[in-house]
Every structure is written in structure tokens, then in C-alpha cells.
């Protein structure tokens, strides 16, 4: 290391509280793992017993989107709130340096990967009802596709209207609410749906949630409110993300 020995020593001195905390945490974890306790009772049996009523054959999806759909609803809103927080920040005065030309290699990678990403996201969404996969995974991959498009400053995103962006971000969380309230209108509890119509509800919920999560992640990466025109004008046709300059 190029640092002097005295600097390293002072760095070590500064780090000892952290080291102590880590050692304590580790000891606690080891104790919790090794200590004899009551035998853990899993919920696997209960989940299996009511799996047929859930509308899907994957246990994880059944738990996430039916038995404990409340959690997933809140998670959708957490990501939504994240976007709201980022948009409410004052734009940075620092502008990105004018980037070198993206180059043919990057754009051809983008043309190759983005369709494949959408395809794989669709596959994960579809596979989610009977094996691993689902809305969040598919959404993350869609977000990756969005990030790739943004990095290449692709004209595809520059043409995306701001209004469309806002609607797309809202779609997932609010569709979730609509489904939840629709269950109440039919005389059930909030978010309660059962086998015959549950499959449809879960599949549509997952698709909209994945779409919105992907859009939210890409928006988080863009990192600022879209530069739309002022409210009075027709903001639906202004580009959401202009190129960094």
C-alpha cells in the first residue's frame, strides 16, 4: 500500500469501534445459531394446504401475491415513493461531461440485448406462477434494459412522452389498489381473492407491477424529473429524458 504506516495505524484506530460491533454481531449470530431452542415450526404445511385456493402452483408466488399480498402492495409503493423522492430533489448543478460518441459497438449491443431482456423478463413473469421468478425479477431486468437505453442515450427513450412515463410509473401500484378494492366491493376483505379469479388477478398484477418496477428503476437511474414543458402546454408530447449535455 502506498499509504504511510502512521496513516494505516490511525485508520486502524478509527476502525476499532466498527470491528468491535462486527465481532459482537457475529458472536450474537453464532450464539443464536448454536443455542438450543424450540424446534422451528415452518409454515410450509399451511402454505401447501391452501395452495390450491391461491390460484398459482408456486409457493413463493402464492405467498407474495395472495397470502401476504399486503407486503407486496407496500413494496410497490416503496419503489413508487423512491421515484417521488428523487423527483422532488433539486436538480444537481453538476452536469455530466459531454460524453464521447456512444459508438457503433454500444448501440449494436443495445439493439441486441434490449429485446432479449424484454424476452427474458417475459419468460420470468410467465415462469413465476409455477417456479422461481415473478414480478420483481422481471421488473429488475426491464429496469436493466431501461438503464442500457439511457446509457446509450437512445432516441427511443427521448421520444417517450412525459405523460406516458408518469402513467406507467403509477400503473403498478394503483392497479394493485384497484384489485384490492374490487375484492371489497364483492363483499370480501381488502386484497382477498380466491382460486377461480385469483389466477387472473395475480397474472395481471404481476405484469403491471413488473412494468412499473422496471420503469421506476430506469427513472431512478435517470435521476431527475423529466424535463417536460410547463403545465399549461401539451406535456404529453415532450420528451421525458433529454440527452445529458
Amino acid at each position: 500500500m502506498t499509504k504511510g504506516p502512521s496513516k494505516t495505524a490511525s485508520a486502524l484506530k478509527r476502525q476499532w469501534p466498527l470491528a468491535l460491533l462486527l465481532v459482537l454481531l457475529f458472536t450474537a449470530l453464532a450464539w443464536a445459531y448454536l443455542a438450543p431452542g424450540p424446534a422451528a415450526v415452518g409454515l410450509a404445511a399451511q402454505v401447501d394446504a391452501s395452495l390450491t385456493a391461491s390460484g398459482v402452483s408456486s409457493r413463493v408466488t402464492a405467498v407474495l401475491l395472495n397470502f401476504r399480498a399486503y407486503d407486496t402492495l407496500l413494496e410497490c409503493f416503496v419503489i413508487f415513493l423512491g421515484v417521488m423522492v428523487v423527483w422532488s430533489l433539486r436538480p444537481t448543478t453538476v452536469t455530466a461531461p459531454r460524453q464521447p460518441q456512444a459508438g457503433a459497438i454500444l448501440s449494436s449491443l443495445e439493439r441486441l440485448l434490449v429485446p432479449l431482456m424484454v424476452l427474458v423478463a417475459g419468460y420470468l413473469l410467465w415462469a413465476g406462477s409455477n417456479q422461481a421468478g415473478g414480478a420483481f425479477q422481471a421488473g429488475a431486468i426491464l429496469g436493466g434494459a431501461g438503464v442500457l437505453l439511457l446509457l446509450d442515450s437512445s432516441p427511443l427513450l427521448a421520444r417517450l412522452p412525459k405523460g406516458g412515463l408518469v402513467w406507467g410509473i403509477c400503473l403498478g401500484p394503483f392497479y394493485f389498489l384497484v384489485v384490492a378494492v374490487a375484492a371489497m366491493l364483492r363483499g370480501r376483505h381488502f386484497l382477498e381473492y380466491r382460486a377461480p379469479e385469483a389466477t387472473l388477478a395475480i397474472v395481471t398484477l404481476e405484469a403491471t407491477a413488473a412494468f412499473s418496477i422496471g420503469l421506476c428503476l430506469a427513472t431512478l437511474f435517470a435521476g431527475r424529473q423529466p424535463q417536460g414543458k410547463s403545465r399549461g402546454e401539451n406535456s404529453a408530447h415532450s420528451p421525458a429524458w433529454e440527452e445529458d449535455s
Binding site: T2, A11, Q15, L18, L22, V60, T92, V94, T95, A96, P97, L124, Q131, A132, G133, G134, F136, Q137, A140, I141, G143, G144, V147, L151, L217, L220, F221, G223
Partner: protein
């Protein structure tokens, strides 16, 4: 036996990586270490037989956090200081060469 060795190796590398992320003063280094941490985390979820989480971690940890953190680093440190931070190491390297 081999499986145990694999798990132990995974655990040790994860713990060591976490420690390095925390103690690194160079933010860029911490970001790269964190990306590696995410990838190892995906392997751990596979070993813990949670393929759902492994999928999510593979997508988020290996691709998105890297891009998000690097973009955030550029904004947080401000363009000039951030670059100087990155370039400092290279200058040092140049001098030595």
C-alpha cells in the same frame, strides 16, 4: 465434504468483502467491491435454495446497483472532484512507471 468447503469458502469471502467495502476510503473501490458482493450474494441464495431471491439478487446486485451507484457517485462527488479521485490513482501509477 466438498459442499461444506464450498459453503465455508463462500461465507469467508462474503465476510471479507463486506469488511473491505466498509473500510474502503475510496468510494469507487467500495462500489466495485459492493458489485462483487452482490454477485457472491446471488451464489449464496442459490446455496440456500432460494432461487427466487437468487434471481432478484442477480438482476439487482450484478447489473442495476452497479449502474445506479456509479451514476450516483458521479453526482455526489461532483464531476470534477469525482474524476480527480478516479484519476489520482492513475497519476500515481504514471509516476511510478
Amino acid at each position: 465434504m466438498v459442499v461444506n468447503a464450498f459453503d465455508i469458502c463462500l461465507c469467508l469471502t462474503l465476510a471479507w468483502l463486506a469488511w473491505q467495502v466498509l473500510r474502503s476510503h475510496d468510494l469507487f473501490k467500495a462500489v466495485v467491491l459492493f458489485i462483487s458482493f452482490g454477485m457472491l450474494m446471488a451464489l449464496s441464495w442459490v446455496r440456500l435454495q432460494a432461487p427466487d431471491l437468487a434471481l432478484a439478487e442477480a438482476a439487482i446486485g450484478s447489473g442495476l446497483t452497479g449502474a445506479l451507484f456509479l451514476s450516483a457517485l458521479q453526482r455526489v462527488t461532483g464531476n470534477k472532484r469525482g474524476e480527480r479521485r478516479l484519476d489520482r490513482n492513475e497519476e500515481r501509477h504514471d509516476k511510478r512507471a
